[in-house]
């Protein structure tokens, strides 16, 4: 059995995004010594989560502190699922693959990073007004 699951709801403000990416780092302690994740991968997951959370604050809530932002992490044997939910505006489109960004640009790297880090990215607007970005990272059974 591996039931590890974490979640954190914060006010949707840029200053709270740090707490959400911290939750990614709590993974190791919560899952125990049987599940050791490579530090480099954890850093990359934290980066992708951070970009997604910043986007939710900026684009879904338009920069206002208008509602809750929730991160859920489910630790499975073969994959980690990161689910980020807001109750702001729906995204008009969500690109299914990473858009190309020509360096050196000063912004717009967010989606590219999320797609680069995660194995699967899926955006959903639900009827109850919740937007959820589901990001999946595959991990070896022994990873």
């Amino acid at each position: 059995m591996n039931a590890t699951r974490l979640c954190l709801t914060v006010e949707a403000r840029l200053e709270r995004v740090a707490a959400l990416r911290e939750l990614v780092h709590s993974l190791a302690r919560a899952s125990g010594p049987a599940r050791v994740f490579e530090a480099e991968r954890v850093h990359r997951w934290a980066l992708a989560v951070s970009e997604a959370a910043t986007n939710a604050v900026r684009h879904a809530y338009g920069g206002d502190c208008a509602g809750p932002l929730t991160l859920e992490i489910e630790v499975g044997a073969a994959q980690l699922v990161f689910r980020l939910s807001d109750r702001g505006r729906a995204a008009e489109t969500w690109p299914p693959t990473a858009p190309e960004v020509a360096f050196p640009a000063e912004g717009s790297y967010g989606l590219m990073i999320i797609h680069d880090v995660m194995d699967d990215v899926h955006y959903e607007r639900r009827a109850d007004g919740t937007n959820t970005l589901t990001m999946v990272a595959r991990v070896g059974a022994g990873a």
Binding site: L47, S50, T54, F103, E106, G107, I113
Partner: protein, 117 residues
Amino acid sequence: MRIQTVKPSDGPAVLQLEGDLDAASSPQLKAGLLALLDAADRGVVVDLAGVPFIDSSGLGALVAGLKSARQREIGFALAGIQVAAQAIFTITMADHVFEIFPTAEAASAFLAGARKA
């Protein structure tokens, strides 16, 4: 984010950062960096040894600094990037665009040498 500037009379200015560099803190870095570049004719080193996390907004602020330095034709280098903060540079390939050194000392020596040569 705490920002401290060290300006030796005979070498590049060094901007020492401490704390996460993300969307909450990068506007502060960008403003500090652009103000420093206005007055730093011997070049600028951004010392990231105290920065455990950098996201795309942080990278954006550093890119703004790089562009401004190029316009002014002064040196610009990054130093002391932590392992935990490296992902953003590899993913965006920014590590091919910036001059990057292990320590602020090495970066300063490089910029000083480049001016003389």
